[in-house]
């Protein structure tokens, strides 16, 4: 007997008799004998819930977690505060044990929160439409590139060198197999080199720029936008939704497509996933967008209700002619984001953005004052910044860890030729005291 399988011996006998076979093995007689696995799977036997809990807890304790450590790691995944309501709402099993809302009459809960998600993200990004969500920010960006290519039938995608290296890697993978030319727009002092914008031409399908970029710097999107649109190419912006509490939105920049990672909106770090990719666009390009979209309509009594719409773009209808092969969304993560944004509101989000902004600037000043760190880039930044250590960065990382601090990202782990450069992320959760502690450890190392 098993706690998740309800069939008693008696039930089984009754059922086998109804089917007209003698035993369970007869139900597998269609598997050719030479393919039958005539041995046990080489896995441990099942264990009780208590034993499972103990084993999983042991595994979890081999990790150092951010409740016990102060973190200055970011680079696309951020330690923002998650209000308690988020997990309570997302923990309702009416939400998490449901399937894709293909039967809208009994899925209005899912459909309405997706509609609210689309609405809030449209408001934040300034775009006409945002879909029901994508796997993560990197794949959403790659899908945005493919969407652009399908929209204007041009085959060259230009991507800013300052985009997150992992996003660039995913773009390279998708573009290689789709046989799309991917050209990297060079950087200068951590931002797109405006002198090189001439590589944007009449063959260019889209230009992808991330702002704030991988180094935390805010890009001169207006200039890039002009050259892009002068060449009738599409502008794809990759953004951090938290930054949109204070930063100019993609809509204000006249972006054609927006894509990004929404993990900061109430989603646990969870070693990198599941996270929340999002993609959005203008009314003009809505029908070229991949993934699910929820729309408002009414029932036969005229009562408002929600359905998945524009499904003629999708794989279950169009098969090989679909806009993408995606057939899911990160629904539960979108639910977390909706609850987060409802809780924070426009004022709360702005406060999170401003605190992150000012704490990051304080941290940078303090770090420069130690004399151990040198400035690398000029220009405005949001919640992240790069400094170059005059000491070995790995040594600093170890020294911080000893004081229960998860230090900044050593950029050389992701990019070559960036030895001893550190990417610091500072969110609203960090206090002055925590920042000072981190700065003091670095100051001590130099002595």
């Amino acid at each position: 007997m098993n706690r998740y399988i309800p069939l008693t011996k008696e039930d089984q006998t009754h059922m086998l008799k109804q089917i007209g076979v003698d035993g369970i093995d007869d139900l597998f007689s269609d598997i050719p004998d030479d393919l039958k696995l005539n041995r046990k799977l080489n896995l441990p036997d099942g264990i009780s819930e208590h034993e499972v809990r103990r084993k999983m807890t042991d595994i979890s304790k081999k990790n150092k977690n951010l409740d016990d450590f102060i973190s200055f790691l970011g680079a696309g995944a951020y330690d923002h505060y998650i209000p308690s309501v988020v997990s309570h709402v997302a923990g309702r099993s009416e939400f998490y044990t449901s399937y894709t809302p293909y039967q809208p009459e009994i899925s209005q809960g899912t459909l309405q929160y997706i509609f609210e998600f689309q609405s809030m993200m449209s408001e934040l990004t300034g775009m006409d439409v945002i879909n029901a969500s994508m796997y993560d920010g990197a794949t959403a960006t790659a899908e945005a590139a493919i969407m652009a290519m399908r929209s204007n039938n041009r085959n060259k995608i230009i991507v800013a060198a300052t985009i997150h290296p992992a996003t660039l890697a995913v773009l390279k993978t998708y573009c290689h197999f789709r046989e799309i030319d991917l050209v990297v727009l060079p950087e200068k002092q951590g931002r797109v080199d405006n002198e090189q914008l001439s590589c944007i031409d009449g063959d260019t399908s889209a230009v992808i720029v991330q702002s704030p970029n991988f180094y935390g710097l805010i890009e001169d999107v207006s200039t890039i936008e002009k050259t892009t649109h002068d060449n009738k190419a599409l502008l794809i912006m990759n953004v951090d939704p938290i930054s949109l509490g204070v930063l100019k939105s993609p809509g204000e920049y006249k972006a054609d497509i927006v894509a990004g990672e929404g993990q900061g909106l109430g989603i646990p770090l969870s070693f990198g996933g599941p996270y929340l990719g999002f993609i959005g666009t203008t009314n003009k390009l809505m029908r070229k967008m991949p993934g699910r979209i929820c729309g408002l309509t009414e029932d036969i009594e005229g009562k408002p209700g929600y359905v998945l719409t524009l499904q003629a773009r999708e794989q279950h209808i169009r098969r090989e002619k679909a806009t993408s092969n995606i057939c899911s969304n990160q629904s539960l993560c979108a639910l977390r984001a909706v609850v987060y944004l409802s809780t924070m509101g426009q004022k709360g989000l702005k406060e999170v953005a401003l605190q992150s902004l000012s704490k990051a600037h304080y941290a940078k000043e303090q770090l420069l004052a130690t004399g151990v760190m040198k400035e690398v880039h000029q220009g405005p930044f949001f919640k992240e910044f790069v400094l170059e250590s005059t000491l070995d960065a790995a040594m600093i990382e170890e020294a911080l860890l000893k004081k229960r601090i998860i230090g900044p990202l050593r950029i050389e782990k992701l990019l070559e030729n960036q030895k001893n450069r550190l990417l610091f992320a500072v969110t609203e959760k960090r206090t002055k005291d925590e920042i000072d502690q981190m700065v003091n450890v670095i100051r001590e190392v130099s002595k």
Partner: protein, 481 residues
């Protein structure tokens, strides 16, 4: 809960807040001095201004308009809507797993890495493959990684002629869509009259332009492909690779293994077979497994075990590349891992036995009342025709009427090769009583349809909303407030 439901934005009242942040305690300048005017946002996003009780009540009431596995029976074919054990949820949210950053030093994430490594090993044993990547975010993403590996493999052999992916006409829509997504041409072959691969049709398509075949087994008709070894052999003889869509693995665990059948690549849907929740559409996870020959092509990074010390391996020159920003849907992987620990070797075999027993029992009861186009032993699911040409109602009407009886209808109109299809997958976590009750309801609805078809045409009547105008939604899309 039938009452009208406002949107959260309609509850807004200026001045209300649901958040409390600590005071900013660093010395701060006017923020404009950090951020030049040209970069500042000018428009104000219209987000709700509510207090915490509003948020909780609004979404709690919305949840009451949803139907999940925890609400009741969910025999949605090919979706494996089985019970999601609660312990899975608890384990994935342990602080030591949920509050860990993906870029922490490897020495500080040995637990996460061990979990990933061991889950890969266990999935390899269950499927008979040599190695797994846990990076794909969903089944369709696993397919994408799989076809990329097929392409890279042929590229590596400088065999550029192979542009063709073959799929049977009973396949999931993702198979053809994925072939297009990696730049392949698609060839669809007709099934034979027993729902299996038509060997003649397959032979006619196989040539030196064939990159590979994608096959779902057991098929979407719930049938084990009887010529499976022959099929993999034929494709290999033509120089192609064979891809196993593992969506229906729930039928065969501990009984047979795709690796032993000759498959080169497989993806699994952890949200189906391995009880991670479907989450209203995601997140799921679609790990992809390969043979020894294809292991170098797996997405990077993979996880290594060096004498009990775990780390990522980025140095994989033949890899198709990175397919996600970080390490896959870790929280989902942790749930699946918890489930495999709970069930163990015998438990997983029992799962498949009970899933197949439940499906065959339901099939045998329902075929007394409904047309079963392919009447044979099934695996985890089966497909019947909900209505005949003489009926004055359609399968869709039956499905909608089921909502009034408080159950989720089966998958309808799929696979495309069966008229008025109703694809039924009970899973192993349902009791005999539930199955019998389902049969009673199906029969009752059929009787209702024959006596008073309008009753079915008008269904559902007891749900929070009634049938919705989908054409209107698509004609003039309203996609935000």
């Amino acid at each position: 809960m039938k009452k009208e439901h406002k949107m959260i934005i309609d509850l807004s009242k200026e001045g209300r807040v649901a958040y409390a942040l600590p005071q900013n305690d660093v010395p701060t300048k006017e923020w404009g001095s950090y951020l030049p005017e040209e970069f500042q946002r000018k428009t104000v996003p219209r987000l709700p201004e509510v207090y915490e009780v509003d948020v909780v009540r609004h979404y709690t009431n919305l949840s009451n308009k949803n139907y999940g596995v925890d609400t009741g029976f969910y025999p949605l074919g090919s979706c494996t809507m089985k019970y999601n054990p609660k312990i899975n949820e608890d384990m994935a949210s342990l602080d030591g797993l949920a509050k860990v950053h993906p870029y922490q030093q490897e020495s500080t994430v040995q637990g996460s890495l061990e979990l990933l490594y061991d889950l890969g090993e266990k999935l390899s044993e269950i499927t008979g493959m040599a190695a797994f990547s846990l990076q794909p975010a969903a089944g369709a993403h696993g397919e994408l990684a799989g076809l990329m590996m097929i392409k890279k493999y042929h590229e590596g052999r400088k065999d550029s002629k192979r542009r063709k992916i073959i799929v049977p006409d009973s396949s999931h829509g993702t198979n053809p869509a994925t072939a297009t997504a990696v730049g392949y041409d698609l060839v669809e072959i007709k099934s034979d009259n027993m729902g299996g691969v038509n060997l003649e049709a397959l032979r006619a398509e196989l040539d030196d332009e064939t990159a590979g075949l994608m096959l779902t087994n057991p098929s979407t008709l719930g049938l084990f492909e009887r010529n499976i070894s022959k099929i993999t052999q034929m494709v290999h003889d033509a120089g192609g690779l064979v891809y196993y869509d593992g969506a229906n693995l729930n039928a065969i665990m501990g009984k047979t293994r795709p690796g032993d059948m000759g498959f080169d690549i497989i993806h699994l849907n952890l949200h189906k077979t391995f009880t991670t929740p479907h989450g209203g559409g995601g997140p799921g996870a679609g790990p992809v497994g390969v043979t020894k020959t294809l292991e170098p092509y797996l997405p990077y990074p993979t996880v290594q075990n060096k004498n009990g010390s775990y780390g990522f391996d980025y140095d994989r020159p033949q890899s198709i590349g990175r397919i996600m920003a970080f390490h896959g849907q870790f929280g989902v992987l942790a749930r699946a891992y918890t489930y495999i620990l709970s069930m163990g070797s015998d438990g997983l075999k029992q799962v498949s036995e009970a899933a197949v027993l439940n499906a065959n029992y339901l099939q045998s009861k329902l075929k007394e009342h409904f047309h079963l186009p392919i009447d044979t032993l099934c695996k985890h699911e089966f497909v019947l025709s909900g209505t005949s040409q003489l009926s004055e109602y359609r399968t869709l009407d039956m499905a909608k009427r089921m909502l009034d009886y408080g159950i989720h209808p089966p998958t309808v109109y799929f696979p495309l090769i069966i008229d008025e299809a109703m694809m039924i997958e009970p899973t192993e976590t349902e009791s005999l009583e539930t199955l019998d009750q389902f049969v009673d309801i199906m029969v009752k609805i059929k009787e209702e349809g024959e006596g008073n078809p309008a009753l079915l045409h008008n269904a559902p009547i007891s749900t929070p909303v009634r049938r919705l105008d989908e054409a209107k939604a698509a004609r003039k899309p309203v996609v935000k407030w």
